[in-house]
C-alpha cells in the first residue's frame, strides 16, 4: 500500500517572480514553551496577501530576521485555522537566538510555503499513530489539528509525545486539550521525571511498544531528533508496521528552500523541494549510510 507523495507543486508559488523576496509579517503572540523553545503567532500585514496564501500541514517556510539571517521551520499551525500562522523555534544558533529575542509587534520575514506535505487524502479512513519527540511535535501538531478539525474521516487516533524532562514538554496547552478530548487517546512520557511529575516515565520506543497500536489499516507519523526517530522506526517495525505505513519528516540543513542551493541534497532528491515528508520506504531506497 504505497502512500504516494506528490512531487511537483509549482502552483503554490506566491510571489510574482522573485522567489527569494520574503513577506514582512507581524508577530502577534510569543509563547514560551520551555526555556529554549518558543512558539510565535504571526500574521500578514496586508489582507490581500493573506487571502492568496494557502498551505498544507507538513510544509515549511523560511523565516528571516533582517540583518541576521534566514532559518527553516515548519508551519506548526493547521491550515484549517487560518486566522493566524504559528511556528516554533528551539534556540540553537545565531538566527534562532535572534528569533528568540523578538517580541510581540516585531516583524519577521516569511518565505514559503515550501516542500511537500502530509498525504491527507491517502490517510483517510485509517487509524493514525502520531509519535512526536521534543520539538518534533511542531510539524505533527499542524496535522493533528487538521485531522481533528474533520475528525470523522479518520478512524481512531493515538498520540504519543515524549520529551527529555517535564521542563522540556512543549505545547502543554495542546497536550491538555488532546488529553481531555475523548476522540483521541493521548500518551505523554518523559525520559527522566522530576519530583512534581506524576505521568509516565520512559523512552518513547518502549512506551510505544507498550501501547502497541495494531498496524492493521494504520499509518504512523513520527517526527523528532534523529536518535529518537531511529529507535522509533525499529519499534514500529517490531509492531509489524511495513515501511510504507511509516511517514516521517527528514531533518537536513536548508538554506534556499527551493531545491537550488544544494545543501539538502541526498541522492537525487532535494529534501526541501521533494520532502521533507517521506515514507520510510522512500527514505530507505535513496538513503544509504549517510544517516
Amino acid at each position: 500500500m504505497m502512500v504516494a507523495v506528490e512531487k511537483d507543486k509549482g502552483d503554490s508559488l506566491m510571489e510574482g517572480d522573485n522567489v527569494y523576496i520574503p513577506h514582512v509579517m507581524k508577530i502577534e503572540k510569543v509563547i514560551e514553551e520551555t526555556q529554549n523553545i518558543k512558539t510565535f503567532h504571526f500574521n500578514f500585514k496586508d489582507e490581500t496577501q493573506k487571502a492568496q496564501f494557502s498551505f498544507k500541514s507538513g510544509q515549511f517556510a523560511e523565516y528571516s530576521v533582517f540583518g541576521v539571517g534566514e532559518a527553516t521551520f515548519c508551519i506548526s499551525s493547521s491550515p484549517t485555522r487560518m486566522d493566524h500562522l504559528e511556528f516554533s523555534v528551539m534556540r540553537v544558533g545565531k538566527v534562532t537566538q535572534a528569533i528568540h529575542e523578538l517580541q510581540e509587534g516585531d516583524e519577521i520575514g516569511f518565505r514559503g510555503p515550501y516542500g511537500n506535505w502530509f498525504p491527507l487524502d491517502s490517510i483517510q479512513g485509517k487509524n493514525l499513530v502520531f509519535v512526536g519527540g521534543g520539538i518534533g511535535l511542531a510539524p505533527l501538531r499542524s496535522l493533528i489539528w487538521n485531522v481533528l478539525d474533520n475528525r470523522d474521516i479518520y478512524k481512531d487516533i493515538v498520540i504519543l509525545y515524549g520529551a527529555r524532562s517535564p521542563a522540556d514538554l512543549s505545547f502543554k496547552y495542546d497536550l491538555e486539550a488532546w488529553d481531555k478530548d475523548d476522540r483521541v487517546n493521548m500518551y505523554t512520557t518523559v525520559d527522566r521525571g522530576d519530583e512534581s511529575w506524576t505521568g509516565r516515565v520512559g523512552l518513547i520506543p518502549p512506551v510505544l511498544e507498550e501501547i502497541g497500536p495494531s498496524p492493521e489499516n494504520t499509518v504512523a507519523i513520527t517526527c523528532g531528533p534523529p536518535i529518537m526517530i531511529k529507535f522509533t522506526l525499529q519499534s514500529l517495525e517490531k509492531l509489524g508496521f511495513t515501511h510504507d505505513q511509516i511517514i516521517t519528516t527528514l531533518e537536513m540543513r536548508m538554506k534556499c528552500g527551493i531545491g537550488k542551493c544544494g545543501r539538502c541534497n541526498i541522492g537525487n532528491i532535494y529534501v526541501c523541494k521533494d520532502g521533507p515528508v517521506f515514507t520510510y520506504s522512500q527514505i530507505r531506497n535513496f538513503l544509504s549510510d549517510e544517516f
Partner: protein, 337 residues
C-alpha cells in the same frame, strides 16, 4: 544560414559596432589573471594567447557575491527593495563550447520548479558568441562528454579562428537576427569552411585526456557504499573550495545578511559542498568526514544530476584538474570506480 567571415584585424570594428547597444565582455588579462571583463574598446589580442579563463563564465550570470535585496527599517516596519541586475544587454565574446554547454546544464537547475530570477534575468539579457578551440589544453577532456571543441549548439554565434580571419556562423535564431543587422561581414568562401571543419577535427584528436563513462551510473550506485575507495581517493584532498568554484557546472550557494540591524542587504554567495559547514546542523553533520563530501560532489555530478535532468553535470573543461593545489584528477577518480 551561410557562413560569414571577417578579417581578424577588423575584429575591432566588429566589436565596436556591437558595443553600441550591447556591453561586450571578452577575455582579458589586464589584472594578471585571465578573466571575462568588459571590453576596453581597444585591444583584441586575446585571440593569440586565450585558452580559457580560470573563473568560468558562470560568474557572469551567477556571481561569487550578489546582492538580492535591500531591507530598511522604516517607521512602520521593514521595506524591501529588490536589486535586480540592470537591463542592459550584454554579449559574451569568446566563450568556449565546454563553458557554453555548462551554462545550458545549470540553466536547467535554475529554472526547475522555482525560477531563479537573478540568474535567468542575466541569461535572457545576454548573447553568447562562442569561439571554437583550436588548441585544447592538456587538462581538457570535453571529447569524452561528447562536446566537440570546434562545434557548439549552445551559443548564439560561433566563431572559428581560421588563421588570418574569423569564420562566423549563426547558431541560434537570436544570433542570426543579430548577424543580419551587422554590416562589414563578407560571405565566407568554401575553403575557409573546409579549413574550419578540418581545424575542428584536428582539435578533437588533440584531446588526449578522457574519462570513461561507460555504465557509470550503475557502477557509481554500487560503489557508493565502498568507503575504503572514497577514503583513499580523498586522502590527499585539502577540502578547499577551488574545484567547486572554478567548475562551470557547480551552482551551490549560501544566503546571508549584512551584519547590520537597521538597514542592510541580503547577499547570495558561492558555497562549496567541500566545506564541512555546508551540511552542519545543530545536532549533527551528516557529511563531516572529507571522503563523504568528495563522494557527494562526484555523485551529485555524475549520478544525481543525470537522474534529475538527464545530463552529466560536467563538461570536461579540466579547470578542477589544473587548479587543484594537490592535483586531484576527476578522470582518475571517476575512471577508478
Amino acid at each position: 544560414m551561410g557562413y560569414k567571415k571577417i578579417k581578424k584585424d577588423q575584429l575591432n570594428t566588429f566589436l565596436s559596432e556591437l558595443s553600441k547597444d550591447y556591453t561586450v565582455v571578452l577575455p582579458s588579462r589586464s589584472g594578471g589573471q585571465v578573466v571575462f571583463a568588459p571590453w576596453d574598446g581597444k585591444n583584441t589580442d586575446f585571440l593569440d594567447w586565450y585558452k580559457n579563463t580560470i573563473i568560468p563564465p558562470k560568474a557572469l550570470f551567477f556571481p561569487p557575491v550578489e546582492e538580492m535585496f535591500r531591507f530598511r527599517k522604516g517607521e512602520e516596519g521593514y521595506e524591501i527593495e529588490e536589486l535586480m541586475p540592470d537591463k542592459r544587454q550584454q554579449i559574451i565574446f569568446g566563450i568556449r563550447p565546454c563553458d557554453a554547454r555548462a551554462l545550458k546544464i545549470i540553466d536547467m537547475l535554475f529554472a526547475d520548479t522555482y525560477k531563479d530570477p537573478y540568474y535567468l534575468r542575466r541569461r535572457e539579457n545576454s548573447l553568447l558568441v562562442g569561439l571554437s578551440c583550436n588548441e585544447p589544453c592538456d587538462t581538457c577532456f570535453c571529447a569524452s562528454l561528447d562536446i566537440s571543441p570546434g562545434q557548439s549548439e549552445d551559443v548564439d554565434i560561433l566563431c572559428t579562428d581560421v588563421s588570418d580571419n574569423l569564420l562566423i556562423e549563426a547558431i541560434s535564431e537570436k544570433g542570426s537576427n543579430l548577424l543580419s543587422e551587422m554590416s562589414g561581414l563578407s560571405d565566407a568562401g568554401s575553403e575557409e569552411e573546409s579549413k574550419a571543419k578540418e581545424m575542428r577535427k584536428s582539435a578533437k584528436e588533440k584531446i588526449a585526456r578522457q574519462i570513461n563513462l561507460s555504465g557509470l551510473q550503475e557502477k557509481m550506485r554500487s560503489n557508493f557504499e565502498n568507503r575504503e575507495y572514497w577514503e583513499k581517493a580523498s586522502k590527499k584532498c585539502m577540502a578547499c573550495g577551488i574545484c567547486t568554484y572554478v567548475c562551470p557546472t557547480c551552482h551551490c550557494f549560501d544566503i546571508n545578511d549584512e551584519n547590520r540591524k537597521k538597514e542592510g542587504k541580503r547577499v547570495r554567495s558561492w558555497d562549496s559542498c567541500k566545506f564541512p559547514l555546508f551540511t552542519r546542523m545543530p545536532m549533527e553533520n551528516p557529511r563531516h568526514e572529507k571522503w563523504r563530501r568528495m563522494r557527494q560532489r562526484y555523485h551529485h555530478k555524475f549520478e544525481y544530476y543525470p537522474m534529475n535532468f538527464g545530463t552529466i553535470a560536467c563538461t570536461g573543461c579540466g579547470r578542477c584538474i589544473r587548479e587543484c593545489p594537490v592535483n586531484v584528477d576527476v578522470t582518475e577518480i571517476i575512471g577508478g570506480i
